[in-house]
Each structure stands twice: as structure tokens, then as C-alpha cells.
Symmetry: C2
Subunit: 439 residues, 2 copies
């Protein structure tokens, strides 16, 4: 079964807005085993829209259209679809009542242009929109079944889920092939090296397609397979996934798309352990990531964003001597920050970052991209230094934050510490300085 996807709207045509709807819909259809042939983007132009609908009606079995169902004169999808099919519009009384109720419930005044939204092609089937005023509809243009949905992503997703996907399953009937996607998330190798380590995959697993996807700062390995037999497909996917994990090793941090903060949080939750975080250069990003995970209040006790040295001393108890002697960006300082935040929160673990995110503030000794990461555990504490080759502030914040969480993940998993590709301090150096200073 062949599908095409059409995004409409001048915002998308002119590039004022990136169209993420089409990728979402393609992903959902492909997961059902439907071949998505093409996507098309067309602006608010009824002649062109109806021409494209007519073209697609000759090529595809199903088509999903987003956008152009609103109340304004720029919303032309319904008119264009009716024109392409050579049918008229008719007021849909159920849709009209839904719209009237929508406005009543919100004590807002309904306008004539909202009435227009209830005009649907005749014949067509209404697709209810529980989240907004614009109903969708399905109809035939040529031999192709069109599904016209609003462009607002939550409304589109809900109506796809409620109506379009069930209808597609019905159309597929027994012809459905099984398909399967797996996302393996890695951190710590560049995309090119990751690709080189997976050389030979295609010969070994000819039925599985492998893509690398740089979702900075992680590299995702996506496996995609489709097969008449679901059992055969699952076996092949399992073998492929195991092979990839063996090649990439500890740099794989999840095999189901789970993001790093959720991986670390899940491990802490399972152990009944807790975490506190002291951030300088990452500026709250680690805390934000951790608290995006529902239930994080179970294990995340305290975050301290200590930009100023005074705050590092007063909130975290970093010593003035350390700051004077080594500066804010140093393994020793990071270690004291991690110790301090762990102590103040009474947490099992403390992690910390101090570095130069840029664009300013770099020195020859500590250029932009330098970060020191501290980790404090019941068994002791350490500081590490890395230098990343990125000039951009937000990229640096992200890779610094990810490195700190990854260091904690490795500690929790009991992995031996390997030299990191961007390591600047050999694992034992900073600890040795500290011990010397103490003795």
C-alpha cells in the first residue's frame, strides 16, 4: 500500500515554520508497514492545492493532508479537496453542533468564519476533533483515500491515532507486513567513528536497514526492518541489536530510545539512592533534564547553579584556598563542588560541572570548550577534565551536561573508566594533586 503526505500552508512553504507533522505521520504509517512514497508541501493556493490533490489521487492508495482547515480565508484544504474530486461542500450538522459547543464551553463568541469549518465535501466522512474547532474528514479523490487533518500537532496526532491509523489497519487487512524500529542511543564517539565500527552490518543483516542520526550530543543508531513473518523479523532485529551493542560497548546507554537523564534516574530509583547537582557552566541544564523525567523528585534532592565564586563558597562550601590556587575551572574545584552539594543535600551522589561554555572567557590554558566534572560518592570523589572542540555555547552546555551524567552512569554500572576521546586529565592526575595537597 502506497501513501503520500501533503503539508499545506504558507508558513511552511516559505520556511517560517519547520514541518514536523509529515515526519511524524510517515513514521506512524511506516510502522504499520505502509510505504510512504513522497511528501509534498504546498502553500495557501487553491488552484495548486487541488492540482496536487488530483495528482496524488492518481498515484497513491492513501494520502494524509495537514493544515488549511481553520476558519480564515487562507484555509483552503476543504475547498481544494472538493474541487479535485469534483464534488460540492455541504454543512455537516454534527460538526456544526460540535463547534457551537466548543465555543459555549469556553464562553467565547462564535463567528461566521467558524461556521465555515463545518462545511465538508459531500460525500465525505467527518473525523472528530476532540481538541479544537476544526473537524477533519476523509474522502476519495480518484482511487485514493484522503485524510484531511488540522495542522496543529496535538490535534493532528490525536485524530491520526483515533481515526486514520485504525482505518489504515482495516485497509491493510491480512496483507500487513510486520515492521520494527529500534533506537540504540550512544554517547562518546563521533558519528564517523561510530559508522566505522559498524562496518560490515549491511552484509551481515541484509534485511535490516541501519541509519546513524546525530541527535547532539548523542549519536542514535536506528535499525529498521520489515518482513512477512513477525517472528523472523524479531529474531533478526535481536541479532542485529546484539551485534551493534557488542561493537559499540559501554558507549551504548540505552536500547529503546530512553534518554540519558531517564536512564540515570531509573538506576537511582531502583537502588533507592539520591543525587544532588552543582552546576556552573551548564547553568541548570542538568537539573532541567533530570526534572523533565516524571517522578524525579524521588531521587533528585538539590541543584545549585553557582555561577559566582561567592556562591560556590557559601552554598557548596568550596574553600577560598582552592579557588585562589586553582581557579573556578579545575578538577579540584569541581571535586569540592560535588562533595559540597552532596553533603548539603545529604544525597548518595553529587556531580558538578565547571568550565568555559563560551563564546567568551577562554584562555590559552583553558580555552572555550574546557570543562571540569566532579563526582562524589560514598566511596570517595574525583575530578576530570575534558576539552570539546565546539565553539557554540549551547552545544558546549549540552555536551558538558551529558558528560557529567555519563560519568555517573558509568560509576553506577561499575564500568572501568576508559580514556574518553576528549579527556585532558589522565584519570588519576587530579586525585594525586589533591592527595599531595592534603598530605
Amino acid at each position: 500500500m502506497i501513501a503520500e503526505i501533503i503539508a499545506t500552508g504558507d508558513e511552511i512553504r516559505t520556511g517560517a515554520l519547520v514541518d514536523s507533522n509529515s515526519a511524524y505521520i510517515a513514521d506512524q504509517l511506516e510502522a504499520l508497514g505502509i510505504d510512504v512514497l513522497r511528501h509534498d508541501t504546498v502553500g495557501d493556493n487553491v488552484d495548486l492545492l487541488s492540482a496536487v490533490f488530483w495528482e496524488v489521487g492518481r498515484r497513491a492508495d492513501i494520502a494524509v493532508v495537514t493544515g488549511g482547515l481553520g476558519p480564515t480565508i487562507d484555509d483552503l484544504t476543504t475547498e481544494a479537496a472538493a474541487r479535485a474530486a469534483g464534488v460540492r461542500l455541504k454543512m455537516d450538522e454534527v460538526a456544526l453542533q460540535d463547534i457551537i459547543r466548543f465555543f459555549e464551553k469556553r464562553h467565547r463568541t462564535m463567528t461566521d468564519s467558524n461556521r465555515k469549518q463545518a462545511m465538508l465535501p459531500e460525500p465525505s466522512q467527518r473525523i472528530d476533533n476532540p481538541l479544537g474547532t476544526a473537524p477533519g474528514f476523509s474522502m476519495h479523490i480518484g482511487d485514493c483515500e484522503f485524510f484531511c487533518l488540522p495542522g496543529v500537532p496535538p490535534e493532528m496526532k490525536r485524530m491520526l491515532e483515533d481515526f486514520v491509523l485504525p482505518r489504515c489497519r482495516e485497509l491493510l487487512g491480512r496483507k500487513a507486513e510486520a515492521s520494527c524500529i529500534q533506537t540504540i542511543s550512544t554517547f562518546g564517539l563521533p558519528e564517523s567513528t561510530t559508522g566505522e565500527q559498524l562496518d560490515g552490518f549491511n552484509d551481515r543483516f541484509p534485511d535490516i536497514k541501519l541509519w546513524l542520526r546525530a541527535k547532539f550530543p548523542e549519536i542514535q543508531i536506528r535499525l529498521y526492518g520489515r518482513h512477512a513473518s513477525e517472528a523472523a523479523l524479531l529474531n533478526e532485529m535481536k541479532a542485529a541489536s546484539d551485534w551493534v551493542r557488542e561493537k559499540i560497548g559501554h558507549r551504548v546507554f540505552s536500547i529503546d530510545g530512553e534518554p540519558m537523564p531517564a536512564v540515570v534516574g531509573r538506576m537511582l530509583g531502583e537502588r533507592g539512592e539520591t543525587l544532588a547537582v552543582a552546576e556552573s557552566c551548564t547553568g541548570g541544564l542538568i537539573c532541567d533534564w533530570l526534572t523533565n523525567v516524571a517522578g524525579s523528585s524521588e531521587y533528585f534532592l538539590l541543584g545549585a547553579v553557582t555561577y559566582a565564586n561567592e556562591s560556590k563558597m557559601s552554598v557548596l562550601g568550596v574553600s577560598k584556598e582552592t579557588l585562589d590556587r586553582y581557579g573556578a575551572v579545575h578538577e579540584i574545584t569541581a571535586r569540592e563542588m560535588a562533595d559540597g552539594v552532596r553533603r548539603r543535600a545529604g544525597a548518595t551522589y553529587g556531580i558538578s560541572t565547571s568550565g568555559i561554555a563560551g563564546p567568551d572567557g577562554g584562555t590559552p590554558d583553558k580555552p572555550v570548550g574546557t570543562v571540569c566534572i566532579g563526582i562524589s560518592t560514598p566511596e570517595g570523589s574525583q575530578g576530570r577534565r575534558y576539552l570539546f572542540p565546539f565553539g557554540k555555547r549551547q552545544m558546549n552546555k549540552q555536551i558538558f551536561a551529558m558528560s557529567a551524567l555519563d560519568l555517573l552512569r558509568r560509576k553506577l554500572m561499575g564500568y572501568p573508566e576508559k580514556p574518553h576521546m576528549f579527556s585532558q586529565s589522565p584519570p588519576a592526575a587530579a586525585d594525586a594533586i589533591k592527595d599531595k595537597q592534603r598530605s
Copy 2:
């Protein structure tokens, strides 16, 4: 002049990857005054690719193609373009030398598949790629000039800038129209109400196109105009922008796309004042946003992410009595948090959040979406309560964080406090409770 944009690749066709290249290219071409007619997305299929290239060659004056220039057997753009134009491929010696040098410089081994990347249609013009191995090329298919570029965004952008846009300016010659885009950012009204307040815009400014764009949690108003006379266009845009600002009032927080944390940061910097932030439910997001702005260390002194009540007491000095009597989510608690973090950091202002981001933790009194925001200034402190109707954790974190920054912005601008559409506490209520308690 009519342009079309074609994105190629199975990653995009199947929805594994969102195509942001096409929006970027459309935006750049529209800014030159070129009409982008359609975008097309096609997978790694040489028959379909060449058919689409041939179609577009009949419709458009120029076409920009991204992707499919790599070394693998899935990279088919060059072959498809040659087939659509009915020409052959030929080794481009300059491109080959570039690729050889690229590998030599990185001490990496070049393979035969990399040689393939130097095979270009004959005739065509090579487009140098200073950032990667894949050269691009331009050629005619029908009467349309095609520009084929790699899909890697930085490489595509660089080659667009260096070659495609200058060539487009040349093609446009004296026919070039001036064009102008302005982004007005607002916070505090839903999209529909914002639209209603701008009723009549189209009649008043027929040459300017207005779009609303929900970039949650802000609503952006985008104005787009194109005109033969640049001076006339700038006058019209200025008038349109002033009219919009008068209609929306204090809810406009920037007129050049500047994000809220940068707006607040700029005001603090100009006044030589400083800020400290205490976050509970927003979990570090406010700090992260603030520190994404380069130079924020000048005014941002301290952030405290105090999830646990113990941290609220020990780090911020919130009293045990307040927590026992009112709980963590209350105007009084938020006010004490703001006072506490301001005091600890020695900052001019303190802001705080405490609320229920969800999905769990709501009660009948304090449902998910409730947030209390505190603001502490040299003149005194206040607490406010809001209830937002969003169920999702990350949406709530974002709108809570934005509300806190907006409260500070209004304070800095000296705007009178208006009832917010989601306000739960009348402005004076919490302060009255506090005063009563004190007396």
C-alpha cells in the same frame, strides 16, 4: 521567479528524521523575493527521483535539492539528475583532488566509493564543499536551473551561502523586490485571542502578510512584506508593527525575535542589577534559559533547585513554620523562597517557583498546572498563584518558567500589574495573608 525545493533520502521519507533543510532554504529564497512554490520529499529511489526532477524541471525556474551526494549506494541524486536531463556522468578532476586532499589531511583512507562522489553530470558546474567530501553541482533540467547540495545542514548552508544565493541574485538581476520579515513576540494570551485582537489588520495593511505562530509558551506574530520599493516597504512595516504593538500592549515582550531570558537579561545588564533564582517545579529550566544567553554571568548570581523541603529550608532559609502551615506550593512559600535566594546571593532581585508540573502530585486544592511564583525586590516581595490548563510536565515547566520571567520583566518595566488570564490569587491576597500573619 519560481523555485521548488526537493529533499531526498529514506531517513526523511520514512520520518526517521525531520527535514529542517527545506524550511531553511525556503526562508532564504523568499527573503530574496523568490516565490517558493512547492517542496517535495523523495526517498532513495533513482526512478522516482529522476521522475520528480523531470517534473520540477518543467514547472520551476530554479530548484534546490538536498541529500543523496554521499559515497554509498543509497546516494542517487547525481545519477537521477543526469538521467532526468538525458546526460552522462564524468569524473571531475578538481572534485577528485579535493576529496583526496580531504582524506590526506585527516590521515584517513579513501575508498573507491569516495571516488564516486567526484563523478558529476556533463555538462554541470561543480559547487565546492569546504566542509565535507561531497561536492555539489548545478545543471539544467528542462529550463530549470538545479542546485544539488549535500543533506548535512552545515555543509548545505555554507554552499547555499557561497554559491546558490549569489547565483540567484544574479538571475534576479534588476527584477529583485525588497522583502522584510519581523517577529513580534508575545506572552500571556492564547493564539485565538491574539488573533481576535488583530482583527482588521489585513484591511489596514493589505501588502503585509500576518501569521500567528505558537512557539509554546510564547505566541509570535510574524509580519512579512515584499515590495518593489524598499523605502515604501520599511514605512509600511513600521506602521504595521506599531499598530500590532498598540493592540497587544504589554504582552509584547520583544519586536525583533529576542527571547524572554535575553530581554530580561539585557534590562538587568543595562541597569547593573543582578538576579538569583529559586526553582522547585521548574527544576532548573529558568537557570538554563538565563545561562543560554552569552554574558549572563554578569547579572545571574545563583540558582537553587530545591525540590526537597529540607533544601528549601537549609539553602533558602524558608521557615519550617511556613512549610508546615501552607505547604510547599503556596504564595507565602514562594515569596520566602524568592527572599531567601536573593538574600543568599546578595542579588538585586530574587524570583522563585513552586508548583505541580505533573503528571502526578495534583490535589483537588492544587491540581496539576498550579504554580506559585515569588518575586523579591529591594522594595519588598510578593507571591502570586496561577493555574494553567496543561496536563504535560514539560509544557507546565515552560509556562511556569516564562511566567516567572514575565513577572520580573513587568516589574523592571514598571508596568501596572494586570490580572493575568490564569491568575488564581488577586494581586493583594497573598500579601495580605502574610501581613496578617506578621502582625
